[in-house]
């Protein structure tokens, strides 16, 4: 298939593997930020091609995984209300709350639906004026423009029975939080290509400068990732710390300006809780005051709900690259996709799920 097969060429992959071997003289630890990259790495076995000195640790870029338990509980609460049509991306349905997940709400009679776009949820609201349609707006900067557009359209069309349960998070504050950890191992980042398609990479430049870390904006196919690692190691070996763009077929430095504009129109920057990490200031998006009427938390009176994370799940450490999934004592035993302790075991971008699906016999 065009635009896919070119980036999965085994011969070129081997060339990169040899080139990496040639340029790597010390031990380096690089974090791939996005869960999509983690899955590519584990699925295609990219880490097996790396020289022994290069270690990859997995980052926080799995929107499902970083959504705090509290918000999952809020989602379950709203979805259980009889008149509500609760719309979500498929991935969120299996994330465990305190006692059940959204699939269990559906099984008990709740109207929980998988949609592919927030605009589909808006359409449902227009078609079902007697019902309340709520969209679970999860994600990083990648999904923010479409979610913003749904709210904007709802406002323009005066669709009053539509609302958003917002759980939007931002990448740069998470990177800063990871770099501020006393025991961080991360020496370089592969930044998430799709996030940067929207936001560009100007905001990463001060981080690279201040913390002396190379940041390479990287795609998701095996050769993208190998090239991203190569560029990052090259910088590390030369003592450089700048932002480079491997994913130039999709990302420009300034990003997608109309997309940023709609985000700014609808959302403002707020503090957010991250699963297993806690609250990070200025790390998420919430609705602007003029769109507050579309806030599901206020509409359904659940803003006060809180929930503590299960103590046994170490997903916070996993999402910050401090530990790897198989280093968790519960991995594959008390925690598995059928009975997960945390979201990293169920999301299709979760590091624990990737290790479980592709690696569990080797560990």
């Amino acid at each position: 298939m065009r635009f896919i097969d070119e980036y999965r060429d085994a011969r070129v992959a081997q060339l990169y593997a040899r080139a990496l071997e040639r340029i790597t003289t010390k031990s380096w630890t690089i974090m791939e930020v996005c869960g999509g990259q983690t899955h590519s790495i584990v699925k295609f076995g990219i880490d097996e091609l790396l020289p022994p000195g290069v270690t990859l640790v997995h980052g926080p870029g799995c929107p499902v995984c970083v959504t705090p338990l509290e918000l999952v509980e809020k989602a379950i609460e709203i979805a259980s209300i009889p008149n509500v049509i609760f719309c979500s991306f498929g991935d969120m349905l299996r994330v465990p709350g305190r006692s059940k997940d959204l699939l269990a709400v559906k099984a008990a009679g709740g109207d929980v639906r998988i949609v592919y776009s927030p605009l589909d949820a808006l359409k449902l609201a227009v078609e079902n004026p007697q019902r309340e349609v709520v969209f679970f707006a999860v994600g990083f900067e990648t999904t923010a423009p479409a979610n913003a557009m749904a709210v904007f359209q709802a406002s323009v069309q005066n669709v009053r029975n539509f609302s958003l349960l917002t759980s939007h998070v931002l990448v740069p504050p998470a990177l800063k939080a990871i770099l501020a950890l006393p025991d961080t191992r991360v020496q370089g980042f592969l930044a998430a290509g799709h996030v940067c398609s929207v936001m560009g990479y100007k905001e990463y430049e001060p981080i690279a400068r201040k913390h002396r870390v190379p940041i390479v904006v990287t795609g998701f196919e095996p050769l993208d990732i190998l090239q991203g690692i190569y560029m990052c190691i090259q910088q590390l070996e030369k003592g450089l710390a700048v932002v480079e763009n491997q994913y130039s077929r999709s990302v420009r430095r300034e990003g997608n300006l109309p997309a940023q504009q709609i985000i700014r129109e609808v959302f403002c920057i707020v503090p957010r809780k991250w699963r297993g990490v806690g609250e990070i200031p200025q790390s998420g998006l919430g609705l602007q005051q003029k769109y507050a009427v579309f806030d599901a938390e206020t509409r359904f009176g659940i803003a006060h709900l809180t929930a503590d994370e299960p103590s046994e799940c170490i997903s916070g450490s996993i999402l910050q690259g401090i530990r790897k999934p198989h280093e968790c004592p519960a991995f594959g035993t008390r925690c598995a996709p059928e009975h997960p302790l945390g979201a990293t075991m169920v999301s299709s971008e979760g590091a624990c799920a990737a290790y479980y699906q592709y690696r569990k016999r080797k560990i």
């Binding site: 298939m1 091609l49 991306f89 969120m92 592919y116």
Partner: protein, 355 residues
């Protein structure tokens, strides 16, 4: 097109619509309306001496020189009822026919049980029954006994169909996972993932540039060809809900063997690959309704492959891997970039990803 499935889409309903445009509870009551369904819809479609006898069950005659029977049953609950490449009727016939074929049997007779939700348009029922009749003809089986029940509106999803089937075993050996041996070649009969994506596209109203049609088809012809050629087939398995991956893992688990497959040789239609890329699905786990894998001794694999490829349904057949002895119950795959990974069963359905 290698195989053109026939469905009842063009069929005209023999019961005048103005009389009963939709199924009512009385159609399942055993009285006049039940008989009308039987006489106007089921008997004309499936007509054969055994069904026409209208007894409580069917007396069937088996070939004299065959003393081993295969017997299977399956229930069909697909939504939507109609999709590109087939409908619930074609699935209900081919699914059971294929299960018999995977037992090394020549499918002969089917039963059909219909659980119909009150309100199903009679016209829809006619189309489905007609599809079943055409599928049965295509697969060379006779539908010899059946049952109809009607449930209250809201208690069914239009129509559920159960079929059971009997076939006579044509393979010399007992086909089962226990027959798999280290060194066997693993053959796949065609490209994977069409059915799952076809259903997904209709169910979720996803619009792709070209229509992806289900692969649903009867596999008995191709399997019987292998036996006719004297190939010592060790094991067969049709690929269904869990896709190629689940079929391989199940057999590796039961047979306590290690299978090694090669990702680069597994055929996937360009459109199916593209749809999977967009949705975040792995074609290895996407449903099929007309594909199977066969475990064949290495010395006979090439001949089996040629035989499969000469069948209209097996043009894209290929050898995808081999059976190794070590590490029981494991399936590994060489990835497209030359590394190795484990292929495991999924815990639940594949769900579309966020971004």
């Amino acid at each position: 097109m290698e195989f053109e499935p026939k469905t009842g889409a063009e069929f005209v309903c023999p019961i005048p619509i103005e009389q009963y445009p939709a199924v009512v509870m009385a159609h399942g009551g055993g009285g006049k309306l039940t008989n009308q369904l039987l006489e106007k819809i089921f008997l004309p479609a499936f007509g054969n001496a055994m069904l026409d006898a209208r007894h409580d069950g069917a007396h069937v005659q088996l070939p004299r020189d065959r003393d081993r029977l295969a017997f299977t049953t399956d229930s069909y609950v697909v939504h939507p009822l109609f999709f590109p490449g087939g409908d619930i009727g074609t699935l209900a016939v081919y699914g059971t026919v294929n299960d018999l074929a995977m037992c090394g049997a020549r499918p002969l007779f089917l039963s059909a049980g219909f659980i119909i939700e009150e309100g199903l348009p009679i016209d829809t029922l006619c189309r489905i029954v007609q599809s079943m009749a055409l599928a049965a003809k295509q697969a060379g089986v006779q539908l010899v006994t059946g049952d109809t029940k009607v449930v209250d509106r809201g208690k069914g999803d239009g129509i559920f169909i159960n079929t059971a089937g009997i076939g006579v075993v044509e393979s010399a050996r007992m086909i089962s996972p226990a027959g798999v041996r280290p060194g066997d070649s693993i053959l796949l009969s065609g490209d994977i993932g069409r059915h799952g994506i076809a259903i997904m596209a209709v169910r979720e109203e996803l619009e792709f540039e070209s229509t992806i049609a289900s692969d649903c088809a009867p596999l008995s012809g191709m399997v019987l060809d292998l036996f006719a050629a004297g190939i010592d087939v060790h094991c067969l398995r049709d690929l269904t809900r869990g896709g190629l991956a689940s079929a391989l893992v199940e057999i590796a688990d039961t047979a306590h063997l290690h299978f090694e497959i090669d990702e680069t040789v597994i055929p996937v239609l360009e459109e199916v690959r593209a749809a999977c890329e967009i949705l975040g699905f792995d074609p290895l786990y996407v449903a099929n309704e007309g594909r199977f894998i066969g475990f064949i001794p290495p010395g006979e694999a090439e001949r089996a492959l040629q035989r499969m490829r000469s069948h209209p349904l097996g043009r894209r057949a290929c050898i995808i891997g081999t059976v190794a002895g070590d590490t029981p119950g494991l399936v590994t795959m060489r990835s497209s970039i030359g590394a190795t990974r484990i292929v495991d069963m999924l815990s639940g359905e594949q769900l579309p990803r966020i971004c």
